[in-house]
């Protein structure tokens, strides 16, 4: 193979890569860094969880408080993710398909929750709905609990996961343009049909990608939820909060057992994310390889 290469070509190729020893040392340093910062922490979760054997692991997971934390975490994600999904689609449609004044400003506002500290995110809902908050007295008079109760946890989670789906869809829909939708409308499709049969198939990978990342954050949120939850065992503890309580009570195996479920969730998220990326890349490649359309004479 190498004998066939013209010497000048080989020199040009050598100019766009490094000597082998540089390549191998760079790979080595990068992988060592990733090993210590990513692989070891992940491995530690499962090792610590199984420190006293499978028996202790199962016992820890069957505790009723752990179960109620798992249920609450799923419930929270089940409310927060669909809400932000609808918002993400609506915001992306408005921002990507039309030109209007204030668009750049609106896009910045959508991103805002990403840059707010989770603790501040929790605090703003305490100031709204807490006992001393804006609506505190009214809520108390009507016997409605939001802070230190499930609605507050859901609200705080909705806030921190707010931009996830919108920010995946906006650049995607902007890149795809309006041509296909306009064709559908001109051919007589309703707005809903256009969205369902034209837009949705085009954005499905971005949508799945946004949903799984949104779900991972919704299930794993700690800071914001911690401020509004009140940490009532069996009632307002999500899985991450339950991990904290167990850990602070020196119930290390139980804490890591619940944490291992969250780590599994993270691994599943990463796996789905990778599959989505590979599929999407393959589809892009397939469309790129399609023969050019012949103009009609």
């Amino acid at each position: 193979m190498s004998t066939a290469i013209n010497p000048s070509v080989r020199r040009a190729q050598a100019g766009t890569t490094e000597p082998a020893w540089v390549r191998y040392s760079l790979i080595g340093v990068a992988l060592t860094f990733m090993f210590f910062f990513l692989v070891l922490p992940l491995a530690a979760v499962f090792t610590e969880a199984l420190r006293k054997g499978f028996e202790a692991y199962w016992v820890a997971l069957q505790e009723p408080d752990a179960w109620s934390a798992i249920r609450l975490t799923f419930l929270t994600a089940l409310v927060a993710v669909p809400l932000n999904l609808v918002f993400g689609i609506a915001a992306a449609w408005a921002i990507a398909k039309y030109e209007f004044t204030g668009k750049a400003f609106l896009t910045t506002l959508v991103d805002l929750p990403f840059s707010v500290s989770p603790v501040v995110a929790g605090l703003i809902y305490v100031l709204m709905f807490g006992a001393q908050g804006w609506f505190g007295p009214w809520l108390q008079a009507h016997d409605i609990k939001i802070i230190f109760a499930v609605p507050g946890i859901v609200l705080a989670t909705v806030f921190v996961t707010f931009p996830f789906i919108a920010r995946e869809l906006i650049p995607l829909m902007q890149a795809q343009g309006n041509d296909e939708e306009q064709a559908a409308i001109v051919l007589g499709a309703t707005g809903w049909q256009t969205f369902w049969y034209v837009t949705l198939p085009n954005i499905k990978w971005g949508l799945i990608y946004g949903v799984i990342l949104c779900n991972a954050r919704a299930m794993g949120e700690f800071g914001a939820v911690s401020v509004v939850s009140g940490h009532i065992r069996g009632q307002t503890n999500t899985m991450p909060l339950h991990v904290e309580i167990l850990y602070n009570e020196y119930q290390s195996v139980a804490a890591f057992a619940v944490a291992s479920l969250l780590a599994l969730l993270a691994l599943v998220t990463l796996a789905i994310k990778s599959v989505v990326e590979w599929r999407h890349a393959r589809e892009l490649k397939a469309t790129a390889e399609l023969p050019q359309e012949m103009p009609h004479a």
């Binding site: 990513l38 989770p118 707010f162």
Partner: protein, 284 residues
């Protein structure tokens, strides 16, 4: 509402239905979930007089927390710039066994709940942990002090740098490097004079994102920091502490300071991304 009025001259825009309903829903939802609650924060601060506010945000314990939060975030973001660039480079330019798995693993800090990261890093670095047991005899302690804060923030910030630099490196034109080599540049000259300037905006954006995320981070830090007042107490924990003492006004004052800093960083990141788009000439 005039702020968001549709540009009527844009003919194509009128063909597609749904502008009013989607924008209306977006604005309503944004107001209810984000804008009105955030304004509650600002209004609550107005219940404080200026000297009260100043005292709440500049107390010695609070000042020490700013120093730790900003210092640790800065160090962590700088470490992430170096190793993030390295990881992105290795993933784009070289082939090795298990590359796809490594690539997927980069996003672990996005997917792993922060509390889980916090307890597992603590378990690793504590005196009896896998890593800590070798470091402690050497007199290096990485848990329960400011070092731990930096470690947790490095973990949290890594994907930001890798994921902003990676696409730019992928799109980089090899022809430029070939030209540089043909003109007699060494490989290092090519890197520092040709490749590096083209990825610098992305690197800076990644740095700003990692820094911004680190400043607000709470879950992963509190387990490993030790949380000693004046020494290893981060600013978000100050807010929690004030809340637990029912000092809502004080908590709000510190939160406003953090919020203003987040705003500024958000604007800086937006400006950097705009610069990056102009630089590469491609929509990012």
């Amino acid at each position: 509402m005039a702020l968001f009025s549709l540009a009527r001259s844009h003919k194509a825009a009128r063909v597609l239905p749904g502008f009013n309903i989607t924008l209306g829903f977006t604005l309503t939802y944004l107001s209810l979930i984000v804008l009105i609650p955030l304004s509650a924060l600002v209004f609550k601060t107005f219940t404080l007089t200026w000297p009260q506010f100043w005292e709440a945000v500049t107390g010695p314990r609070v000042m020490a927390s700013y120093k730790l939060t900003f210092g640790a975030s800065l160090i962590a973001a700088l470490v992430n710039v170096v190793f993030g660039l390295l990881v992105a480079w290795v993933l784009v330019r070289y082939n090795f066994f298990g590359k796809k798995v490594v690539d997927a693993l980069v996003d672990l800090p996005f997917a792993l709940p922060t509390a889980v990261a916090g307890i597992s890093l603590t378990a690793l670095l504590a005196g009896n942990g896998w890593v800590g047991q070798y470091l402690e005899p050497m007199g290096i302690q990485l848990a329960f002090n400011p070092n731990g804060v930096v470690i947790a923030l490095i973990f949290i910030g890594l994907p930001f740098v890798v994921r902003t630099v990676q696409p730019v490196l992928e799109d980089a034109e090899k022809e430029l490097e070939e030209a540089a080599t043909c003109l007699g540049a060494t490989r290092w000259q090519t890197f520092s004079r040709v490749i590096f300037p083209s990825i610098a905006p992305a690197l800076l954006t990644g740095f700003a994102m990692a820094f911004a995320r680190a400043i607000g981070e709470y879950g992963s830090v509190i387990f490993i920091a030790g949380n000693m007042p004046m020494v290893s107490e981060i600013t978000p924990l100050i807010i929690i502490g004030k809340l637990e003492q029912y000092d809502y006004a004080g908590a709000t004052a510190v939160a406003v300071v953090m919020l203003v800093i987040s705003f500024i960083l958000l604007l800086v990141i937006n400006a950097l991304q705009a610069w990056q788009r102009r630089h590469t000439g491609a929509p990012a």
